[in-house]
Every structure is written in structure tokens, then in C-alpha cells.
């Protein structure tokens, strides 16, 4: 299969300090990759490089089969100011800005698209609500709606379940599984046990990247990859028994 995009020998970091060293990764159009690794290992840095928010020191990104505006992004929830006076519909619409000029305005068609995505994610009753009126799970669905309104071919998620109520976590991942039929997904998570039930492969990030081509991973695999994290599971999500392949 022709890859969707590729990272080739990328080194990147901040203020001259290298966080990712000579990293390569190919992503296929139907991939669902769990990005795991210890804190400070470079998971978010990897996403920032793909998004073009961080210029790598060396290496290249192969975007020959993917346009920059075909990437959807769901950042860590804590980044948004929930007291800011903006409605749910406005936040969802911001996902279309990548296709607009700086003076661009939202059209009726844009609002129809927003309504469609909000319908899909059960957000219609909250369209005119402020963000501070929502629960963590609802807020996360708003940001997911923003990420997918532009019908991306690659969806990047940075710890999407952090503030999601455990009772809604399974529902959230189920929605991602459905979305995966239409787009590749790369998802940063600390909850390896839980996401094992949904992802198709793992990328263990700890300075370097080790690609694990299965949705099941063991502590021994992680040790081999130099990726010292605990295999924990949170919430009520059905998860797989973790075995060595």
C-alpha cells in the first residue's frame, strides 16, 4: 500500500536540545497508531513536527500523498480557555480555518457541515452553549468535532481521554474506531492497556521511535524498545490481554 505520509530521519527539539533523534515512520491511509512512551520522550514533539508547528533540525517529511490541510488535530484539552466567550458551534467551525484566507468568513455551507458533525457526536443541544457549561467528555467531543469537520485524511490526537469521564471513554474510542474507516489516526496516550483494544499498531517514542506492528504489546516489548512505561488500564473500557508475540 502506498503510504499516506512519511517521516524520514527527523531530528527535532527545543532551544538546540534534541528530543527526537533520527526518527523515521511511515503511516498508511488506514493506520490507527497508538503513540506511547514516557513523559518527555517526544510524543507531543512528534505531533508538533507533523503539524508543522516545530521545524526539525534535520530530516524530511514526505507529504507527497497528503496535503497539510488534510490533517485534523485534537490537542490536549487543557490548552483551551473554557471561560473564553465562544460557543460550541464557533469552536467546531474553527476546524475549517485551515481552508480559508485570513479574511475568510463562515458560510451557510460551513454551518451545515458543523451541524452535521455536531449531530454525529451528539453535540447539537450544546451548539450555542459556552465551553464552561460542558462536562469533560462533552468538551472533548467538541474538540473532536473541530478536528474532523474538515474531513481530514490524518487525525492526530494528543491524550484525548485525559478529561473524559470513564463511563464515556469506551464510547469515545468507539467513535474513533468508526472514524478510522475514513482516516488514518495517530493517538498519543499513556493508557496503553485501554487503547490496545482499539489501535492497530504502536509507535514507542523515547527519543527514538520503535514501530510495533500489532495492537497488542507486552512489557517485554516495551523493554526491548527502550520505552519504560507501565501497562495500566483506566476506566471501564474492554481491553485486551497483553501478550508477547
Amino acid at each position: 500500500m502506498k503510504h499516506l505520509f512519511a517521516i524520514e530521519s527527523i531530528s527535532a527539539g527545543y532551544d538546540g536540545k534534541v528530543v527526537l533523534n533520527d526518527v523515521s515512520l511511515e503511516v498508511e491511509p488506514d493506520d490507527f497508531i497508538g503513540i506511547i512512551g514516557p513523559n518527555g520522550g517526544g510524543k507531543t514533539t512528534l505531533l508538533r513536527v507533523i503539524l508543522g508547528l516545530l521545524r526539525p533540525y534535520s530530516g524530511r517529511l514526505d507529504f507527497s500523498n497528503l496535503k497539510k490541510n488534510e490533517i485534523g488535530y485534537l490537542p490536549q484539552v487543557a490548552q483551551g480557555d473554557t471561560l473564553f466567550p465562544v460557543t460550541v458551534e464557533d469552536v467546531v467551525l474553527s476546524g475549517l480555518m485551515i481552508n480559508k484566507r485570513l479574511t475568510g468568513r463562515m458560510t451557510r455551507d460551513d454551518r451545515r457541515r458543523a451541524a452535521g458533525v455536531m449531530e454525529e457526536l451528539g453535540l447539537v443541544p450544546f451548539a450555542g452553549s459556552a465551553l464552561n457549561e460542558l462536562s469533560g467528555g462533552q468538551l472533548q467531543r467538541v474538540y473532536l468535532a473541530r478536528a474532523i469537520i474538515g474531513s481530514p485524511r490524518l487525525l492526530l490526537l494528543d491524550e484525548p481521554a485525559t478529561y473524559v469521564d470513564p463511563s464515556f471513554e469506551a464510547d469515545f474510542y468507539e467513535k474513533l474506531r468508526i472514524l478510522n474507516s475514513k482516516m488514518a489516526i495517530m493517538m498519543v496516550s499513556h493508557d496503553v492497556g485501554t487503547i490496545s483494544a482499539y489501535v492497530k499498531s504502536f509507535a514507542c517514542v523515547n527519543g527514538s521511535v520503535h514501530y510495533h506492528p500489532h495492537g497488542k504489546i507486552t512489557e517485554e516489548d516495551l523493554r526491548d524498545y527502550g520505552c519504560p512505561i507501565q501497562l495500566v488500564t483506566h476506566g471501564n473500557v474492554p481491553h485486551v490481554v497483553l501478550q508477547k508475540h
Partner: protein, 284 residues
């Protein structure tokens, strides 16, 4: 009505109109982005420019504009580069501006200027040139906000996400904070260094009690400011009390009434989102 009174009323109404545009656009921006303290810093730092203007024999508002703009861009730069804690930088500029202003006014030969009019504002000192400057400033603010409404909204709300769709986030932040500095300075003669901050914060705060839609906050803050400022002017004229202080008094009364109305509304109904959450819980 005599020609002097007619001119005074016209100047007051135009002053109120332009100050209200500033309150609507800049007020909503600084309250939403939690930049009220920064605005206070810019306002007080610009007092240094007023003193320098007197000392050099140029229009004090020009000096204030230079100080206001420099401090606004300087604080944004320090904050952007994380070179220094933003509140510390503001605190230093705040005191430094006032100190410079007082020193230069002290050094200025001849009669000491009427500082009260700069500290507390007075429509009597506002010239037609000031009104024209305010008019141009207001037009610039309206055009800037109208043209780039969506980008400004999203950069203000979540600049990290905004960086995924534009590489000009920093540029927009600098332009916005620069316009904030200039808008504050050009309103100083009318509202005063000490009182202008309330003009920028109270109307937006009142409207935010009733809506979370940014566009509506801008428009209704403008309307409320115009009513408050015009009312303040009229009351100040009748009572011969300082204009800036009377305007703030009127706006604070509006704010108290709004709080009471909001409190009554809360008691009588629940928000749609909360109602929906309760329904969801009940249906489980």
C-alpha cells in the same frame, strides 16, 4: 443653545461614540483574553509619555502614544519569548511610567500642567484634533476587527490551535496589543489614566453575564458604553463633577443592576446545557 454649548454637546457625543467603540472592541478583547492588568500597565506607563511631552513642549498625547505603544509591544514580546513573568514586567512598567511622568512634569519650567485632567479625564480639555484622532482610531479598530474577525477570535481563544492554520499568530497578537495600547492612550484625555480601565472592563463584563457569543459582546458593550458615557457626560455637566469619575459611577451602577438581574434570572431558570445534562442523567 449657544455656539459654545452646541460645540460642547457635539464634542461630547462624538467622544462618547468613539470611546464606546473602543470599549466594545478593545474592552471585549482584553476581558476575554484576561489582559485587564496589562491594559492597566499600558495606561499608567503612558503617563511617562505625557510628562515627556510637557517637558519637550510637544502634544502630551503624542508622548503618551509612544510610551503606550512601546510598553504594549514590549510586554507582548517579553511574554511571547518567556523572558520574564508577564505580571512582573507590567508591574515594573506601571510604576516606571508614572515615575517618569512625574519627574518630567516637575522638571518642566513654568506653570505645572493640570494633571487632574489626565488622571481623571475631562471633556473640557478634549480638542477637535483629539476627536478626529479618536475617530480615525475607531475606524481602524472596526476595519481590523471586521476583516479578521474569525482569525482574531480563534487566536484569542486558543493560539496553539490557531498556529495549525496560520503562521501569523504572533503578528496578530502584536497588532492587537498595539492597537489596544493606542486606543487606550487616545481615550486618556476624556476618561483619564486612572479611570479608563473601568471603561474597558465594566461594559464587557456586564454583557458577558448574559451571552458568551463574542460578536454579541462587542456590539452590546458598545451600546451599553454609549449609554453609560453619554449619561455620565450629562450627569457631570449638571452636577459639575469630574467627567471620568461620573462615567465610572454610572457604569458601576449598571453593573450592580446587571448582577441583580442575572441573579434573578438564575433563580427562575436553568441554562439549556445544564437542563440537557440533568435530562441525560435522569434518562440513565
Amino acid at each position: 443653545m449657544g455656539i459654545f454649548e452646541y460645540s460642547f454637546v457635539l464634542k461630547s457625543l462624538l467622544g462618547a461614540l468613539f470611546a464606546s467603540i473602543t470599549a466594545g472592541i478593545i474592552g471585549t478583547y482584553i476581558v476575554s483574553r484576561r489582559l485587564v492588568f496589562l491594559s492597566g500597565g499600558i495606561t499608567h506607563a503612558s503617563f511617562g509619555g505625557i510628562g515627556l511631552g510637557y517637558y519637550l513642549g510637544i502634544d502630551p498625547v503624542l508622548g503618551a502614544a509612544f510610551f503606550g505603544l512601546s510598553s504594549a509591544l514590549g510586554i507582548e514580546y517579553l511574554s511571547e519569548k518567556s523572558k520574564m513573568r508577564e505580571d512582573s514586567a507590567i508591574g515594573i512598567l506601571w510604576a516606571f511610567g508614572m515615575a517618569v511622568g512625574i519627574i518630567f512634569i516637575y522638571l518642566t519650567p513654568g506653570y505645572a500642567p493640570n494633571l487632574m485632567s489626565y488622571l481623571f479625564g475631562s471633556i473640557l480639555t478634549v480638542t477637535w484634533t483629539d476627536i478626529l484622532t479618536l475617530g480615525i482610531m475607531s475606524a481602524a479598530l472596526i476595519i481590523y476587527t471586521f476583516l479578521f474577525y474569525r482569525v482574531l477570535l480563534y487566536v484569542s481563544f486558543d493560539e496553539n490551535y490557531a498556529r495549525t492554520f496560520t503562521g501569523k499568530v504572533s503578528l496578530f497578537k502584536y497588532i492587537s496589543v498595539g492597537l489596544t495600547g493606542l486606543a487606550i492612550v487616545f481615550n486618556i484625555r476624556m476618561a483619564g489614566v486612572i479611570l479608563i480601565i473601568s471603561l474597558l472592563t465594566i461594559p464587557a463584563n456586564i454583557i458577558m453575564l448574559f451571552t458568551r457569543k463574542y460578536q454579541k459582546i462587542v456590539i452590546w458593550s458598545f451600546v451599553l458604553s454609549f449609554i453609560g458615557i453619554s449619561g455620565g457626560f450629562a450627569l457631570s455637566w449638571v452636577t459639575s463633577l469630574p467627567t471620568g469619575a461620573v462615567i465610572v459611577f454610572v457604569l458601576v451602577v449598571f453593573w450592580l443592576i446587571a448582577r441583580m438581574v442575572k441573579s434573578l434570572m438564575k433563580k427562575s431558570e436553568l441554562s439549556p446545557a445544564l437542563s440537557q445534562q440533568i435530562k441525560n442523567q435522569m434518562s440513565k
